[in-house]
Every structure is written in C-alpha cells, then in structure tokens.
Amino acid sequence: MERVVTINLNGNSYQLEEPAYDALRSYMTRAEAALGANPDKAEIVRDLEQAIADKCSAHLSPGKSVVSASEMTRILEEMGPVEGEAQAGAEQAQGGAAPQHEPWRPARRLYRIYDNGAWTGVSAGMAAYAGIDVAWVRVFWIVSGLFTGGFTCLVYLVMIFAVPVASTSEELAAAHGAPFNAQEVIDRARREAGRFAETSSAQWRNEERRWRRSWRRSERNWDAGWAAGAAQAAAAPAHPVGYVERMFAGLFAFVFSIITAALLIAFLIAFFSILSNGSVLGWTPPADVPTWLVLVVIAIAYAAISSPFSALQRTSYATLSGRRTGGATDGLATLAIVIIVGAFAWTYSEEARAFIEQGYVVIRDFVTYWSSQG
C-alpha cells in the first residue's frame, strides 16, 4: 500500500505517490538553492512548477489520478537540473564594473490570490502584500465588520470587484513583491519623475488620441448593438489588460451591476403595480389606454434604458475576465443583487413584503387563468 500526497502546483492540485512527492520536493529545494539570490527566483520557481504540472497532467487521465514515483523520476529528468547564475555573477565580479542595469524587481501590487482555502482571495492578497499571516487579515475583516456595523463588509465587497486576481506567475510574484525600503521608493520616484518629464507631452497626446479612438469605436459598437440588439457588440479587447484597467473594469462592473439591478427592480415594481393596482407610484394611466399597452410601453422603456448599462456592464466583466465575452457573470451578478435586495426588503419592510406577496398572487392568478384557457 502506497501513501498518496496531494500537492498544489501553481493553483492546481495533483496527487503523487509519497516517493514521487519526496523527489519533487528535493528537486524544488535544490532549484531554489541553485537560484540563490536571483532576483527572478520567485517567478522562475513558478515557471518550473507550471512546467512540472503540465508534465504531470500528461501522465494523468480520467482513469488514473496519481503520479507514480517512476513517472516523477522521468519528469524531473526531463526538466533537468536547475542552473543558477553563479558563473554570471563571478564574471561580473571579475570585470570589476558595476552592473549596468539595475536589478529587476516586480512592483509590489495588491492582487487577489486563490490559495489555501481562500474564498475570494482578498485576504490572502492583502496578507501577501503586507507580508503577514492570512489569519490575521481574516480576523481583521471580521472584527472590523462587527465594529463598523457592516461598513467594512461593503469595502470587502468592492475589493472583490476592484482587486484583480493574480493568475500568472509574474502577477503572483508581484503580489508577494520585493520588500520596499525608503531608498527604493525615493529612487523610483526620482526615476519616474525624470521619465515623466521626458515623455509626458508626447505620451499624453498619444493617450488622448487612443482614448478618443476607442471611445468612437465603442460608440459605434454601441450603435451596432442597439440596432442589432446583439449581445456581442459590447465585446472586450481580447488582449491581456493591465492592472489599472482591470481595477477600473472591476469598479465599473460593480457600479453597472448595481445600476442594472436597480433598473430591473424598478421595472418589476412598475410592472406588478400596473398589473395589480392599475397604477405606478400614484400615477394612473389614462382610462382609454388598455393595460396590456401600458405593460408593453413599460417593457420597451425598460429595455431601452437598461440596454446601454447592460452593454457597459458586460464590457466591464469581459475586460475583467480577459475573454471576448464575459460569459453569464454579468447577468448572474444582476440577479444576485436583485435577490439580495428582495430578501432584505422582505425581512425589513412590511410594505415590500405585501408588494412581493401581491406579485406572487398576480403570477398565480395569471397561471391559473392561462391553464384554464388551455
């Protein structure tokens, strides 16, 4: 009987026979030792893990879920020993000259990290950023949520949208980052300022032109979407987007989700008010206009008002996911908000409860009427 060890390679879990696990662990330990003070160590280790994960997948199939010791030996032979840069360093030392290029370091950035048992990855990302244990961050969220009466829960919710997920090894390295020190911050600020002065005017003009172009394009898309009523008109760029774009896309996704949900709720209220009372917010349609026509007008008005917001919402989600279409996330987010708001209203407002019950009665009557007809 062989013991099986489950491991996490770059976010995916693999099952290894125990000797295979031992071999892999000693390989990675040797690799890290060989890389020593290599400034890209974290990234190279992630790359190696990914390469090993790919090779493991090749040995697995639906009927076979465990990587054996002999397979791991073969995989590690294929990988070959990890070579450090000891000689490179020695050459530089011999030359006596200071290195021309400053050592490259990933800029430390706040990402969400899906790792050991993370739910949204916000806490894990903050822990990596601050270099503390994730448990402390989770405790911080719970305690602050209790003390601020749920305000920080809202902050947390916004962060789920606004903080991008670290999915590549580079981003993961940036999530953990190289520790900052004051000198580094000052150097970087000085460097950035110099570069900014050199390139700013030209860059600004380029930037502006690009913005105008993309705005025109999205306007055209919008018109096309309007005309065709097509969902894919609001397509997102398929190229990978940067951190700032993703952050804004996340915030927009959040804001537009709330707007579309609010519109949907307003529509539902108007629709059911007309059906049950024949009036909306105290306004009664003229007596000579039939109810079905009022309902159709409300539905068309809702579609017209909500479609640009839905398009923007979809674009935001697509930008966030980096795929051309955002899938069903945008619709699900809207539905989730409507359900949550509905549940709150049901619990806390007598009127809302009466209204929802009324809506239920209307639907029930309609179904009864429909089935009696058929």
Partner: protein, 109 residues
C-alpha cells in the same frame, strides 16, 4: 558521439544564448515549448531547468521580452520575442562568432 558530447559541453553552453536568441529572432514570438522542441534534435538540446533561468536572465538584460497569451488548454503562456537591444546583441554575437571561426581557420594555415 557521446564522447564528443561530453567534451564539448562547455562550448555548447557558451553558445546556448546565441542559439536561443537566433531562434527567437526567426519568429514573431516563441514559447518555451517551441524552443525546447526546436533545440531537441540539435547539439543545443536543453531542458526547462536550464532554459527558464536563462530566459529570465535574457529578459533582465532586456534582450528578450515576453507577453502572456491565453492558451487553449491550461494557464496562459509566456511568449518571448526579441527586443531591439536583443537584435543588436545578436548582431554582435554573430560578428564575434565569425571573427572567432575565421581566426581559428587562419591559425591552421
């Protein structure tokens, strides 16, 4: 010719960077799998354990750069391409290589 292989390891190692830069220069972008596959039948056959650290060094020296590209299956891949600085370096390497070989030949005459 395993004996020759063994003896000239140092020579090949010194030229691996040249070989990789040349390969990357020949196409718009290449990922690690492409490079390994292309080099496998040549004397420059190499492995991930060597290639990743070397590519990261070349990237730090700004001879190559990479972009993340979504792959059909699995996580996104790094696709490498030669930078302007890299093609300058490749030119220098080529010139120096020709200088070396012509020197060796002229010594024998």
């Amino acid at each position: 010719m395993p004996v020759a292989d063994e003896q000239f390891a140092g020579l090949r190692k010194g030229l691996l960077e040249f070989a990789i830069l040349t390969f990357v220069s020949g196409r718009t972008s290449a990922y690690v799998g492409d490079i390994l596959e292309a080099l496998a039948p040549t004397p420059f056959a190499t492995q991930e354990g060597t290639l990743y650290p070397l590519l990261s060094k070349l990237r730090r020296e700004e001879f190559v750069d990479y972009q993340w590209v979504e792959s059909g299956q699995g996580p996104p891949r790094k696709y490498y391409q030669l930078t302007d600085k890299g093609s300058g370096r490749l030119g220098e390497l080529g010139a120096y290589w020709r200088h070396l070989t012509s020197t060796v030949e002229s010594l024998g005459r």
